[in-house]
Symmetry: C5
Subunit: 328 residues, 5 copies
């Protein structure tokens, strides 16, 4: 599916514009055309991007076929910007990311993505109701779009932070194997987040500093503003990674501490009952009346004294043996 | 709430100055005006910042609505500086930070924060009693303010250092699950500290080196002095992070060492009493007078010899089995 | 073995070209000659590379004798590029890498490798059927070759990612010593991958940015495209390394958690049966009818009371002793 | 206390020079004056530094009141250099560091420190006996001083290295909780060492490369020489940090290995004696002559068979239960 | 001991050249003189280096007295290069390194080392038999020497790699305390290797890129070739460090896994025999015929019922108590 809005140079807004009218709209240097492809078939989008807009085959290839880290390519007449809309639901397996490819020209914006992006829809709706955004030029549309995407990044970072705090609390109150799995999932999510966040920061840095033909010099300050937010998000996400690592180490310490308690109890019980069990066993000896005569000498005085000696010497010998192994 | 001090170019100091007089004060290029907003409602502050002072909407947005890492933005006629007042009480959950947004013009300083900041109040009080600070210009007020904030950073770093030393001592004397929680809290606090310290150092580096219209070139040396302190604080805070990580590793080692001791005791007790308990059990055998006839053969000579064989062969077999599993 | 394709300036394609015709082909500045050595004997290749193509002895040495990290050397008339074709089969010991040495001149490409490389064979086959690649120049052949190699890198990165996910699942469901071995093998593979990926990225960066005589300025954009892919692969491979490390930590946590469960069971069983076993033992005491007279006093009232006292005092003493050792 | 040496331009050496003569000495551009403050009261030193030498209040503040990482400040007429004399005694708690603040002018050196520094005293003594150092200018005094300080750094690095080797040996021969404490102390010491070493290296790099008015261009080679030593010390100290971390990991492995041995012994003993203890217990059963009639059926044939069944079924059931929990 | 070879400008080679003839040889700008000091006494070498060759005292000091990381100093008329010959024998304690100090002039090479270096001897022997190396100038001698040293670096890296693989295999097949010691020794060796390799790479980078008077511009390509090898060795050595760290982590996991097995066995045995041992003990109770009258009520019906109740209630109570401590 693809759709378009066309803000005419004379101030009119057209929301029903067909593919054939794109070429004319592109000639209107005062107007702004925004075309959005959502899950459109590759052949059809390729056709429009290559022939109507005249984008370079490599750029179109990047947009339609391939996965990228966020990047910005300067093709002089237009910019190609790859970004991602991300979301994270607590309890889910991983971060979800949808690639958003944008072409920014002097008087047009083309966006392409495989799945619907809520942040983009919000901006689209605003634009259909309010022409002010268009009045400030095509680059302002890109700014609004990026700004809206960043809001979702903030939410993800906050969700991760809360999730880590929850997991951390459970590590102390109820350490379990299931917690380890959640920690690992969080580790994966923070690693993925960094994979999008870190190059996106560089993209915004470029948009804020470099001299692109299609970005008005006085609009760069808006991209700078987003860049500042990304710097903060990046710093927080680095802390999150450190914290997740710390939570796993903590888990190991907590579980070992608990094991310590368990072993103490076991040792206490054993230490309390083994000696006295031996004692009552000692008085349980029969020096028995054997049921056949040949065993009689087993119960005699000599046997008893030998038994006593063994009972006394064995534990002492054990202690010495252990001392030689440096255990005491 | 907001308040103001106005040092007139002719040397007078006005502490009771209304909002309407700000515009006039701004015309007095020899004077210095300091306006401080503490927890003021957004609408009212926005009004003054946008219209009386004429700050850029993005800068006002940064100051009133948003959270930032420390940064400095050059808006030519004025600087926007975001910093944080921090505090840490031993035993509390985390570092507390209050964002302080400052606008520095040629002849004015505007500070904005949501909660009262003690460091700022101290400087405010000094300024109402002593006009010397104002004589040296608005940038000197920013210097004094930053310098006072840094004093709190030093205290926090020292508190953390002491806390780590305390925790470390307890790890050796009384390792417990509660200690792990304190270590984790300290880890969080050092990570947060770094989040403020590291970009703040960059802010001071810029103030000390870059050529800003509103900072007198010969005053940069003062910001350089603060920068040097921040370099040291940053180095120490990096060591603290390493130390906190080390404390957790140490905890694990200590707890494992203790477990070793516990297991040695358990093994000692078991090793001492199991053999002799068996011995007394051996002599406790009845080769009993069964209460019914069919059991008679169980107590005969053959049964006794079989028992003896099992008693001798079983432990030897166990040893061989263990040796095959490479446990001995 | 070596083979050659010669695209004549006039549009003809010769696939049967002997070694003696190389020199003539090199004079045809409009044509493109591609010579490929696969496991050729060193003496024979050396002869051709040194005398027919006139490459520098050091460059030939690099290509024929030595192992290198990926690199690009500019010899003005030609480039020497070292790359690797890699593959990874899940379950195998390690990453397999075949060094591919390429010389790129204005109108020729020379490739040298010890073992057959599938990616290269695919391009070779395409080139014998379709002269379009040759029409765009020798540098385009290098681009196609590199692009095809990168496809294999992507597959390897994906295999590693899947393998890590598999291993991670098994860590939680069936932790065993064999899993540790697989984790270690994965760690080795990700380290090896980085050894090829990281310098290869730099090679492509140079091909995309530097001004080489044999690469057409307008073709650099193609190398830039590959570079972008490598940036992404590199980012992912860094995450993989972090994840592999995380899996090992997770394993340790899971195994310790499991040990905790085991110890709990042991302690539970011991705690349940030791006290009652003692009790039944107590009632098993004979205060026996000794088989000789001298033992009579052992069964008297005093002996019984002494026994009772020991039975009561011993566990209490144990508890106190343990408390002094700070175990309770 | 403060003391001074004054090498007159005419070659005479004055070791008894009063505070009042400093001003005159400073006028003698051919001479060299060295004033050293050791634990002098702040007011008195401040007086001399501010008024006699005319140093900037910030620089004097740095020297007298504050703690710094090593740094060099260029005040054009003079340099302010902060360094540290360090020492480490094996077995002590931590590295000891004394801040040494130096002002270097064209014809004077001023040193300030709170506690006596042996390295400085050695140079002082050499200078009172031999005027050659003074002949080469004030910057040469700074060089000799720094060179002598570095000797102590080398000793500290060597002590730490030896201490680590000792601790490592003990980890293998006698792992104990006390060893963990020593490892942690070493970790702290190496972190502190880095805090001094790393910025000091930068200071020497600046002295060796930057163009300072008070350092003769041809003398920079001497500072370069010290810089080279610091590079090496820094590299070694980084290795030391890695090694200390490795020692702690090793400790954990050794202690776990030992625990393994202990548990093997415990398991061996238990495995050997539990089955045979059961066996002798089995033959110890009375199927007793109850002291009251109602218990008679407990010893009958049915009871015996039931007991046998339980004795056989229980262990088999246990094994199945454990297998279901995946323990076998 | 020192020895010399002198290749005269006219093509003759003198291997018997006395110290007095050095000065004349240095005048022969077409010739090449190589003087090699092996464990020569400091005074004697100092004499020659300072006076015959006229090296700067600092450079001579570096060569004769001090230990350095690899470095290159440009003294305009000559270069001072510090490198190390290294060797590693599997099973030994550590890497062995011999410092090799080289002075390279336009027509001479001076090498100084305390112990014989095999790589140097090999080059020396080649040079006495074949004048070709001399024909290409003194810088070519340095190249051959460095190239030969690097061969040993490769061997060391390979030995370490094999050793790590061996140790890794043993970790899985026979984990023992002795293995931990070997891992730690390997860690030390890889850290030491990096201490030599990393700055040596920088030295070669400088020799390959910088414009030194004594290195012919067209010979730089040879040093570039060595540099490329060092880049690869450095990359491998970084992987080795990561692998060694991984082996220790793996060891811990393997040992914990083994402990798990041991504990399972212990728990299995205990779980199997404790309940049935209790059972047979129960039937071993006497409700005995006391040897004195006062004990008669202990064996009555009430006592038996009380005993039964305790036997039933105790384990149930234990389970509840454990559940409250969250162990089940």
């Amino acid at each position: 599916m693809h759709r378009a809005i066309y803000y005419k140079g004379n101030g009119d807004l057209m929301t029903e514009i067909t593919q054939d009218e794109y070429a004319a709209a592109l000639q209107d240097t005062q107007g702004v055309l925004w075309v959005d492809f959502t899950g459109e078939e590759t052949e059809s989008s390729e056709q429009i991007l290559l022939h109507t807009f005249g984008f370079h085959p490599l750029a179109v290839d990047d947009a339609l076929h391939e996965t990228h880290v966020p990047k910005v390519d300067d093709w002089e007449q237009y910019l190609y910007v790859a970004m991602h809309a991300i979301s994270f639901t607590s309890g889910t397996e991983d971060l979800e990311a949808i690639e958003l490819d944008t072409f920014l020209g002097n008087n047009y914006v083309v966006t392409h993505h495989d799945l619907p992006i809520q942040a983009l829809d919000r901006i689209w709706d605003t634009c259909t109701q309010d022409v002010r955004h268009f009045k400030r030029g095509a680059d302002h549309i890109l700014y609004k779009l990026t700004d809206e995407l960043i809001v979702d990044y903030m939410k993800v970072v906050e969700s991760l932070d809360e999730e880590i705090e929850l997991v951390e609390d459970e590590v102390f109150s109820r350490p379990s194997a299931e917690i380890v799995q959640r920690i690992f999932t969080l580790k994966r999510a923070t690693l993925h987040l960094r994979r999008y966040l870190s190059p996106l920061r560089e993209v915004l840095n470029k948009l804020a500093r470099d001299d692109y033909a299609v970005i008005d010099a006085k609009d760069r300050i808006y991209f700078r503003d987003i860049y500042d937010h990304l710097v903060r998000l990046h710093d927080i996400s680095e802390s999150l990674r450190d914290l997740v690592g710390g939570v796993l180490d903590t888990y190991l310490s907590v579980i070992n501490n608990r094991m310590n308690d368990i072993m103490k109890t076991l040792t206490l019980i054993t230490t309390m009952f083994m000696p006295i069990s031996f004692l009552v066993g000692f008085y349980g000896m029969n020096f028995f009346q054997p049921s056949f005569q040949a065993l009689l000498p087993w119960t005699g005085r000599t046997a008893f004294i030998m038994t006593l000696i063994v009972v006394i010497v064995t534990p002492i010998g054990m202690v010495f043996w252990m001392r030689r192994r440096k255990w005491m």
